[in-house]
Structure formats: C-alpha cells, structure tokens
Amino acid sequence: MKAFAIAVAAAIALGVLAMLALTSSQKFAYQAFATSGARVSEPGTNLVGSKWNGLPVLGEATVEDHDKVKGEASHPKRS
C-alpha cells in the first residue's frame, strides 16, 4: 500500500513537472504565427467567437472583444 501511495504521488509530481516544462516552451498560435505583416487574432475573436456560437456579431461586441481585436492579450485557454 505504501509503494502504491508513493507511486501515485510520484506520478502526479512528474505530471506537474511535465506540465511546467511543456508549458514554458509553448506559445499561443496568435503569438507564434504573427509577423510584422500579418496579425493572427487570438482565440475568442476568431470564427467561433468567445461563446463558441459565432458571436460577437456587429452590435453585440463588447469592449473586451474590441481589445482582443486590437491585439491586447487576455487569458485564453491553452490547447
């Protein structure tokens, strides 16, 4: 039982270490693929919209949506 508990703890610890190592070497797509001549909008302002329903449409965009379109980073989900 002791070996099992230590094994589970070690698995979680190694998983967290892997998460930190992998996350530190990752960039968001809008950061990785943007150039001085091409801006890639971040998730939430693309085709699906922040609510994953195709919105915001004209007239329904919020201030936050406008900020995103301008390129100011928010806190999108990592994928």
């Binding site: 039982m1 002791k2 070996a3 070690a10 698995a11």
Partner: protein, 346 residues
C-alpha cells in the same frame, strides 16, 4: 420635295439594316461563346484550364503559397486526409468497441467456465516469500495508475462525443474533455518512465526459454488443475512483459510525435502516427484487461504479489516452483524475506 426626303430616308435606313451584320461580325468572332454556352469550335471553353485531376498528377496534394510563417496553411487539398477521417470517425470506434467489449465478454465467459483458479493448501501454506520488492511495486503501480488514466482519457477521444456528451451535455463534456486531455498529455511522462524502469528491472527474468514452451503446451495451468513448471515469470507473464515493453515503446514514440506536432513529420505523418497510436492503444487496453483479470479476480493469491509484495509459499511453489527453489537456495533457512534490491520507494 417632302416625298423625296421621305424616300431618301427610307433608302438610308434600309442600307443601314443590310450593312449591320457585316459591321458587327468581327466583334462576334472575338466572343465565340454562343447562347447555349458552347464554343462553336466544338470544345468547352474551360477544357484546357487547370483542374484537380491535372494537379494531382503532379503531386499528391494541392498547395498554394502563403506569406505567414506557418507554411502548413498553404495546404489546400489533401485526399489522404479523407481516408484518415474515415478511419477515425467510422472504423476506429467499431474496432475499439469490439476489441474491448469482446475481451470483457471473453473474460466473463472464461470466469463462468473455469471459475477462480485456486491453490491447494500444503505444509508451506501460511509462510510468506517476497515476490516483488518495494521498488518493483513502485514502478509497477506508477505505470499502472498512469495507464488507467491514459486509457480512460484516450477512450474519451474516441467515444466521449458519442457516449458521454449526450448524457452529461456539451458544457460538462467540454470541461471533462479538457481535463482528460491535460491528464493524457502530462501523465504520459511518468508512464514512459515507468515502462523504462520495469523493462530495466525485469528484462533479465523475461528472456524466453524452453521452460516457457513446455508451460504453453501444458495450457499454463488454466486448463485442468495442474501447474506446469515456471521460473520467476511464466510464459504468460513474459507475454505481458514484452507486450508492455513493445506497446509502451510504440505508444511513447507515436505520442511524442503528437506532443511535438510537425517537428519531425508532415501532415501525412501526423495522421499515420494517430492511426498507429489509436490502434495500439486499443490493443494495449485489451491486453491489460486480461492482465488485470488474472492478477485479481481470476487467480487467488496473485494480487498479493503486487499488493504487499509477499505471497503464500504454497502459492509460489505451485505457480513458480523453479523460482522458489532458486530463492531458497540463496538462503539456508527456507523462506526468505530479504530484500534483494535497494528500496528507495519506502
């Protein structure tokens, strides 16, 4: 006079009408398309233009040119992707369901037929012998717990949207799938480490030999009530070991290709890696289901080997008699509990 003017105007109009077809003929020749859309030369106007069929004779996919760094976005049409999609959306769920449910059904049928494999009591019953030390059990359980999480989160990729989402709804499924994906990606690392440790620790006891062939010919103790001779691991356990080593390596390599997408492979290679990863993953789960069955419900006393590490000496004598003799030869006082390897886990 007035009549003369009228007559002259009529003549001019008639001459104009007669000459008009000749005047507009050159313009009509420059636009050969007729009202029915056909070229008067007998060919379609787009017959010589570039089409998909022509482009696929030059390469296996159609690409364009882009100015952003992600050159993959220049890929327009790739027919191989349709085959991959057909496999993933049509074949894979059936292969996975038939494989896993088939094994569960087969194990259930075997249990109904054979029942739990028991060990007869002997004079040695009640005495204990160390089968796996703490470090071996640590490596096994770290790999095993990761494998279970990887299996469930992996099956979620195939069956989640079909089975779970209709039950719990898209919002809950989205959250669950996101966390399942995190666990799949991050617990893959301790799993790979565990496979490497287990291979290093147990490979010397898993080299196939003639005793294994005799064990297989005798039915491995599954048929009848006798137990053929076996060393530390019998042929069945060696099969599980090499399955874990081989499938673990294959899952690790294909998984790394997906964890670092397009680092080594192109889009075709990525899709092939996913197909291999999925098929071996299903086979891996099917094989481990049998391993879990025989290690718990299927055989009395087997779980103790990985539970406490110590097994009943009578059980060990029945299932691994050659190993018991070797272990007892190491000590002069019969059953031993001496730890053979350092045990950093405890």
């Amino acid at each position: 006079m007035r009549r003369a003017v009228t007559l002259f105007s009529t003549l001019v109009l008639a001459a104009t009408l007669l000459a008009a077809p000749g005047v507009f003929a050159p313009a009509q020749a420059q636009s050969p398309q007729q009202q029915d859309g056909l070229n008067p030369m007998g060919t379609k106007p787009t017959a010589d233009s570039v089409n998909e069929e022509f482009l696929f004779k030059q390469a296996d996919k159609i690409t364009g040119r882009v100015s952003i760094p992600d050159q993959k976005s220049a890929n327009l049409i790739q027919p191989q992707g349709r085959e991959y999609r057909a496999f993933r959306e049509s074949w894979l769920p059936w292969i996975g369901a038939l494989g896993i449910l088939g094994m569960i059904g087969a194990l259930g049928a075997f249990f109904m037929w054979r029942g739990r494999i028991l060990t007869d009591d002997t004079q040695e019953s009640g005495k204990k012998i160390l089968r796996f030390n703490a470090f071996e059990r640590f490596a096994h359980w770290m790999t095993a717990t990761c494998f279970i999480v990887l299996s469930l989160s992996g099956l979620n990729y195939i069956f989640g949207k079909r089975l779970l989402m209709p039950v719990i709804g898209p919002e809950a499924f989205g959250t669950l799938a996101q966390w399942a994906k995190y666990s799949h990606v991050y617990l893959a690392w301790p799993f790979m480490l565990g496979v490497v440790i287990m291979v290093a620790v147990w490979v010397k006891d898993n080299i196939p030999n003639r005793i294994d062939w005799a064990w297989i010919k005798a039915g491995g103790g599954f048929i009848g009530h006798g137990h053929p001779h076996a060393e530390r691991f019998n042929a069945g356990q060696k099969g599980v070991f090499w399955m874990v080593a081989g499938f673990g390596a294959a899952m690790g390599v294909t998984g790394l290709m997906m964890l670092f997408p397009f680092t080594v492979l192109d889009i075709n290679g990525m899709q092939v890696m996913q197909v291999i990863h999925a098929l071996i993953g299903v086979a891996f789960i099917v094989g481990i289901l049998a391993h879990i069955y025989i290690g718990t419900l299927g055989m009395k006393g087997a779980y103790d080997a990985m539970g406490s590490g110590e097994v009943d000496l009578a059980w060990a004598r029945a299932h691994h008699d050659l190993w018991v003799e070797k272990e007892q030869a190491k000590t002069l006082s019969g059953p031993q509990l001496k730890v053979r390897h350092p045990a950093p886990a405890e």
